[in-house]
Every structure is written in C-alpha cells, then in structure tokens.
Assembly symmetry: C2
Homo-oligomer: 559 residues x 2
C-alpha cells in the first residue's frame, strides 16, 4: 500500500493524505515512550505527507497529530482500542494457501461474524461444517472497524482496519488461510457508499466527502469533485488491499445505488479494473437497487463489468408469493408470473412502472449469463430489516422449504443466509454498540418511528444475543440443503440461462433443465400431468407424476 | 401536448399534474368573467387532473387553483403578465416554411434576443444581415419565461412559456418562420438542469425537484426519485414541444453536467429519442463540463447519442494562448501544444490531471466525426462570466482575428457569438430584472463577493443597455468573417477529423486540410519554410511563403 503504516520487517513507512494542512506529525508509541515526528509534505499539489521510521515495527502504536490533536490513521490496518483509539502497525502473515486456486463455482453462504461464530476464530471452527454443507464460499458481512463490539458492519469508519472485537487482521488472515485450505473461498462485504456516524475523523484530514449528494445513512465519498483523485485512490486501493493482503476471493459492494459519481470513468469501473489487475479470478458482486444493466454489462457495452449483482427482484417475488405479504416493496410482487419472470429475465422491473417506487424502474438486462446474478430466499437485509426480524421459516413453516429448490437449483449463483440451512428460528435483528449519547438517542428515536409496536432497542446486548445462531439443527432440513447443493453441483453445474420455464394452473412453476430434469415448485394444490419420477421432494409432493401435488417442491427426472 | 391548455379551434382541453392534491380547480378568465371549474382526477396513481371546456379559446386567460390559491399553469405556453400572472390559451399559427428542410451544414450564430435585437421582431429584422454573413443557424439564448423583462434566460421558471417581453409565442413563431424562409435554421437554448429563483411554483403542484442532488443555481429536476416519470415527461415533452410547435431545428441543452440522473435510461437519452422521433433532422447540442464521451457516443456504445457538445477545451486553449490569461480555468491552458491537442482530439483533458479542478478530468473521445463538437472563440458565458464582461477584441485587439481562422476553418461546427463578426466592443454583462427584494439582495451580495472591484449592478437597466450590440460595424472585420464562412462552406465542407496538424517553432499551428490547403495561425514572429500562396490573411502574414510571419493567421494553398 502507498498509504497507511507499511512495515517491511525493519522500518515502517508512514504516508497520509492531508491536503488541508501545512503540517502533520506522526506520534509513535513505542516501548512505553511517546515520540512526535514531523512528516514531510511530498508535493503541495496532491497533499501527501510521509516519513520513514527506522525502528518502528509491528505492534507499535501510532496516531497522526493535526492542529495539536491526535487522530487514528485513515488507512489504519488495526485499531486494537477501537475507532477512537490509536492505530497499530501490522506485521506480515505466513500464508499457507498456495494450493487454493480461487472460487470456481460460487455457492455462497452469507454470515455475520459475531452472530455466526462470535469472532473470526469462531467462524474458523465451523469450517468443516460449512465444507460438509457443500457451499464453496463464505461471504462475511463488513469488517471495517466500527464503533463498539457489535454492529452489522455498515457503520464502519475506517475502511482498512479489521474490526478489533472480531480478532483484528491476524485472526481474519487465519480464517481466510484455513478456509482456503479447506477449499472454501472468502468474499468480503465492503462499504464504499458511506461511512458510519461514530468515530469518523476523515474530514479532519481532507475532503473525503461529497458536497453534492446526500444519503440518509451518513456522509458519502467524494468521487467526482475537487481532490477526488485521492479519495478514489483511498477506496480503490482498499478493494485491492483485501485481495492482496488478506487473500480475499471476492468483494460484495454494498449499496452501489448510493455511490454517486458523475465522472466519465465511474468509480465502480475503476475498482473493477484495479481488482482484476490484482487477481483476475477475484469476484466483484454488487448490491444494486437500480435494475441497471450497466453495472454488470461488459466494457464494450459501456458497462462497469462487475461480475454479478444481487437479485432482489427474485427474492421479492418469491417472498411475496410464499408469505402473502404485500406491504412496502412487496406491493410490487405477489403473482406467480413475476417469480417466473425473475427466473427467466432476472429483472422483473426492467422498464415498467413500479407502484411502490412510484416511477418506472429498471431496464432489460438482455442476454447475459446467469452467473451475473446472485439469488437468495433470505439475506441479512431481507431478514434483519423486517420489523420482526423473522426468518422465512418462522413466517411460513414448511412452505419455506420450497425456496431452496427454486434458488439453489436456479441458473443463478445461489446464496444461503447463515442458519437457514438447518432451520434456525432465532431472528436476525438490528444491533449496535455506539457510545455517543446523541447518536444513540437519534438511533432509538428513528427506530421507534420505524418499528412502532415492534420496537426493540438496537443498543441492548440482548438484541445481539437473540440474533446469534442457536445451532439447534433440524437434521431433516440440513440434509435437504446438502442434497440440493449436491444436485446444483452435479446436475446443474453451469450458468446457462437456457432454461425452459412454465406455469401450471397458476399454482406451479416448472423449470426444465438439462432437457430432462424438472424443478417443480407448487404454491397450491393441483394435478400435474407430467410423466416423471422424483429425485428429491418436500412433503406434499408425490414421488412420481402424473399426480396430485400439494404445496411443496421437488426435483424430478422426466420419463 | 398532453399537458397545458390545448385549444383545438373549438374547445380547450386543460390537463395538469398535481399528485399532492385531492382537488384542483381551473379558473377561467373570459369576457370579463371569472369562472371556477372543478377538474377531474384521471387516476390516483399518476395524479393528472383534466377538464375540457367548450367555449374556452385562444386569448382567454386562466390559472389553476389549489388550496384556495391561484397559480400559473406549469405547462403554460404564455404568461402575458409575467411569471406571477395568469396563463393564456395560445392559438394556432399559419406556417409558411414548407420548403425548409432543416440545417444541413451548421454554422451557428449565438445571440441573446434582447441584446441582439430587443425582441423577436428585432431579431427577425436582421435576418438578411445574417443570411449575408453566411451563417446557417441562429442559436437563441433561453426564452423560457423568466422574472422581469431582461435576463440571460437561465432564470426561467416556466419551461413551456415563451418570454413575454420578447413577444411571446406568436412572435417567436414568426421569427422561426421568417428564418426558415431565408434558409436559416433556429436552435434554441433550453435549461433542464435547474429553474430560476423567482416565480417558481412547481413545488406547489408536485415533487418536481430532487431531494438528493444540489446545485448553487436553484432547485434541480427530480429525474430519478418517486414521481420522476411525470417530471421526466414534463421535460422530455418540452423538448418535443419546441420541435413540433415552434419548428425549432435544434436544442442546445444547458449545463448537462448539472443534470443528475441515476436511472438506467438517462434523461438525456430519453430526450434524444423523443426529439429524434419528432424530427430525425433536429439537432441536439449539449453544454457539458464533464469531457465525458458518453454524452455524444452512439447508442451501441452506451452513449446518449447527443449530436454534438460544446468544446470548452478548444475555447480555453485558444483564449489562454491569445490573452496570456492564467487565472481560474485558464490555469490549465496556455501552451500551444494544448491548442493543437484541442484541434486534434477535441478534449485536451481526456483523463489527465487538471490543476484547476484538482482532479483527473475527462476520458478520451476516440474516433468520432468532428460534427460531434461545437467550437467558438467566444460565447455568452466566456464573455459574460468574465468580471469585466469584455470581448476578445477588447482584450487583444487585432490578435483576436486569429481566432476565426482557427475555429471557423476547424473541422468542427463553428459558432460565432453575436457582434464578434463585425468587431463589436460593447461588453456582455450579467443582467437581471428580479422583483423580489430578497433575491435581489442575495444576488447583489453574491456578485460583490465574486467581482470585487469590477462590481456592477446586474439589476440596473444600464447594465443591460451597455450589453446591447452597438451595431458599429467594422467592415474589414465583417468581410473577413464572411470570407472565412464562405471558405468553410466551399473548401472545407465536411466534418472529417482527418486533419494534419503541426506546430512550428512553438509559435505557429499549421493545419493541413484537403491535402493542399493550410490554415496557419501564428502567435509570434518566425520564419516558415513552406511553399504556398495566400487565399486570405490577417495583417502580418505574407501573401506568399516561404517567409517571415508575424502574429496573425492565414489560409494558404500549398504549391
């Protein structure tokens, strides 16, 4: 890295961008002493200060002093004392994952480090379980250092620092190393659209934030105004940093619809180019609410060429159909035809009017391969942003088991939300651990307005406790997931969108794959006049067809 | 039009978008009477109200009443009493321009209606003069109804209403009709990035404005949030309206860099599609500060496919070189090599760092034809936004005559700023005629901060008076312009970018065209070892080469 504190085994090179200032000091804490060292302004134009310190080594602590006050390094790798504390110089790691060749066939498992395993060590201990489940990559919710010990991760304020309460850089590297040795890839959720409210001192250093664009979640990065080259570099290099320094296999880019950039070369395209240069196999997956094909289109079509994006339309059409819910964005969904369209075209809203959005939404995605989309029946947002934080199984019981047939065996990249695979019934709630009384007050008031009678206190430790996985495994469900993952790998091991979908009696969706396999999902009782024998079914589906079907799903081989 | 007051010869159909409201009334002023008529809500979802009134006819006045208060129609065609007054129903016009086939070879003349001719009638009276000059299209600064009698036009608040002090719809149609009969096209400057500060009641009707994006000039249209379909329609239909109802031949889209739209189909692309559907020959010219090829790239390259954009980089490199000025954005220019790059590549800043902007700017435009760019040595902004409002000739005297050689004979679309062609020395200042004391106070204070010792009062009538053309014609200069325009049409009558450019002795730029013609511009004394005879030159350039050249320019035929 060309910013931060870079220890080469002997000395440490410190570099920080502070274009607002004439003077920046490094304050080094070493062997019980505090040493103030003046940094050199490299070049007025770009505003970088740097200094090389001979005896500064891994484990030493430091801050930058500006106007007499000390702040953590904007590119700090580790904040052992939290967002308000000193930064620490990080040493090298002995990697042991040479045999790992990257994710070949992504079957993703999204997890929150704290709620899944407590910390990185806890996640590492579950690696055999995950291997047996059959997933090929875990996706960690963000680990950028945030205020306190627990948080979904989207309130991170130091992009380069690995959350101290999870175990910091060393433990994350150990986790990735172990995953790779087990043949599992690691995708990291990264937040480049805003920073959290507590512990953000970036503005002290320079114009990191946009003066043009607003979001409700906090200040957003300045990608297109004066000084944006350096802000872009801060973000682009961060993406590369995870790939290179942590051997991360892919990045999930949070809420790219809230990244505003009017530059001729969009920041997403720049991130993509830099990441692919660092590792051509690294995956970039965007969360996008825009239904805009440009995100994933190839370069020769002026796209940003991101590898894949989350398919909320698939989720919403499935969820609305299973639960009957029609509030909020589910107002736009509910018909079985929309689910069929989501499976066929990826975007349901591809240039048609959305009642929920009160505007025309999206644009057709055209003929892209199906590994351009990630599908799921649940994820942290779709569970955790519910007022009740309930999982699908708590809402619809055994009907929930239709979901994995549809998304794990769809042509797209499937993603499981932690615990779903064994029938976890603990909710996933919104939890935080801020210290600033103003922020806490604002947060609680906001949540009260939003949740009404469902209100719970996000700051309360018990909220986090309730959200942790219980690990009360329903073996029947777990076996089903394992079997579906096995089938996805063995029978449906490609990303062709050449699938034949039809709706029967407005009750069943029948997806024909590989000319003879049928994935059948039924949302009501009817009779199917198809000649087939089952490979795997939920209760309610017969082992051979033709026959009466119930609410349920199955994989069949056509005869 | 499907909004506004549409008179078909017998009755008038009124339609207005007011999604915030349960009730909207039409107030019709007719034969000395005031009649209040309840409008019908067509459909809750989209929020349009309409009513057909049998005896309402052209010339009758009306308002819309909401919550007991009367407002002008957001789609008013005419405001005879100004922005605060009633709207008027407009009748049909008998067009007489059937023989006009559109602009074939644009040579543009930018003019401000008030400063050029007082009003539309005054502009019409100059049509023979313009015809003789040889230009093929006039470009009118904006005529959207603004507050008061004088304004550059960028403070318009009613997109569809033609400025009353210029003569309103009837006189604009007469002007266009006359221009077409003389073989001159009419391009209209339209402002879709913001509306002016006084007389803007659009927010009473609905969510016309963005809650996400900010500009310093006033509220900007909501092109991508809830209800944006209807706002987009308001703007897109406006573009079509000028083409269809006023026979306008092209639109100059003001400051598209301040149009923010995160939708998959950008509003510029939507405007373009609608305008081309209305008239495939209609031209769309963007003012863009982004150096972003996407604006003008073809659709298959994901561009918005706007026909052309203004080339500020050409202007700035020429101006900085001629004047030696290096303040503000001229800091990025001054070298003769940059002027050569502007002629060769259009964008000088095409992905390189700009000191003025403190960021990397632009992206290479690649291999587009030269009619994708409009070049000029002056325009309303480049003259009027100077603290002194001075024209080039007042700054550098006869050196100013180098400019037309370079831009009129460049491969690009040339644009003359009114008066330049005959050596006008009156300045072009910023003038307004607001009534609101708060707005006037804010404006004056802002200008004082900006202009310092150069301060003048934009509200003072004399400021406008000083900016009017004197029509004191320097016949020598006028002849030169006529001759250069003639040469552009006769010798250089295409838009090929296949030109050979070289720099001699760091003093002269030599542009070879059509294999034997040389356009030579010299910014210092030197000796040119080229065998050529002159076709036309400024003083200081010899009639044949090789020879000593001075500061000046000439067109030569190589021998």
């Amino acid at each position: 890295m060309d910013i931060g504190a870079n220890f080469d085994g002997k000395s440490t090179f410190f570099r920080v961008w502070a274009p607002y200032h004439k003077e920046v000091f490094l304050v080094l804490y070493k062997d019980g002493e505090r040493k103030v060292i003046k940094m050199e302004l490299e070049d007025e134009e770009r505003g970088y200060f740097s200094v090389e310190v001979d005896n500064a080594k891994a484990g030493d602590m430091y801050t930058y002093m500006i106007g007499g006050k000390e702040y953590p390094d904007p590119a700090s790798r580790f904040q052992p004392e939290g967002v308000q504390g000193k930064s620490q110089i990080v040493g090298n790691f002995s990697w042991d994952d040479d045999n790992w060749k990257g994710i070949d066939f992504p079957i993703i498992y999204e997890l929150h480090v704290g709620a899944f395993g407590g910390d990185f060590e806890g996640v590492k201990r579950k690696m055999d379980y995950l291997k047996e489940l059959g997933i090929t990559a875990i996706e960690l919710m963000p680990v950028h250092q945030f205020a306190g010990n627990r948080n979904w991760g989207y309130d991170g304020v130091l992009l380069y620092a690995v959350q101290n309460s999870y175990g910091g850089p060393q433990k994350l590297k150990e986790l990735v190393n172990e995953a790779h040795k087990k043949g599992i890839g690691v995708i990291l959720d990264v937040v480049y659209n805003h920073v959290g409210p507590e512990g953000n001192y970036l503005s002290v250093f320079g114009p990191y934030f946009s003066t043009r664009y607003k979001t409700p979640w906090g200040p957003i990065f300045n990608f297109d105004e004066a000084y944006s080259d350096e802000v872009r570099h801060y973000v682009v290099q961060n993406a590369v940093y995870w790939i290179k320094e942590y051997h991360i296999d892919g990045l999930r880019l949070d809420a790219v619809h809230s990244i505003f950039d009017n530059s001729p070369k969009h920041i997403l395209e720049e991130i993509r180019d830099a990441v692919k240069e660092a590792n051509p196999k690294a995956l970039l997956i965007a969360e996008s609410d825009l239904n805009d094909p440009r995100i994933i289109l190839p370069k020769d079509k002026c796209g940003y060429c991101i590898d894949a994006q989350w398919s909320d339309d698939f989720h919403h059409s499935l969820h609305a159909l299973l639960t009957g819910e029609r509030d909020s964005y589910y107002a736009d969904f509910g018909e079985i035809t929309k689910l069929a369209k989501a499976i066929k075209d990826a975007f349901v809203y591809d240039g048609v009017y959305s009642r929920f959005r009160k505007k025309t939404h999206g644009r057709p995605v055209g003929n892209l391969p199906s590994n351009k989309f990630v599908v799921y029946a649940q994820n942290h947002d779709q569970v955790g942003n519910r007022k009740d934080g309930k999982r699908l199984i708590s809402l619809v019981r055994e009907k929930a088991l239709i979901a994995p047939f549809l998304y794990i065996l769809s042509p797209y990249i499937p993603m499981i939300f932690m615990g779903e695979e064994y029938g976890e019934t603990n909710p996933f709630l919104f939890f935080t651990d801020f210290s600033d009384p103003e922020i806490i007050k604002g947060l609680r008031e906001g949540r009260k307005r939003e949740l009404g009678e469902y209100y719970y206190d996000p700051q309360d430790y018990s909220t986090f406790e309730k959200s942790k996985l219980s690990w009360k495994v329903d073996e029947k469900i777990l076996s089903l997931y394992k079997e579906l993952i096995r089938l996805r790998k063995e029978l449906f091991n490609d990303f062709s969108r050449d699938v034949d979908i039809r709706i029967e009696d407005n009750k069943c969706i029948i997806i024909k794959r590989k000319e003879k396999y049928l994935v059948i999902a039924c949302f009501g009782e009817t009779y199917l006049d198809i000649k087939a024998k089952s490979i795997i079914t939920t209760d309610g589906m017969p082992s051979s067809l033709p026959g009466k079907v119930n609410v349920g799903a199955g994989v069949y081989e056509e005869l």
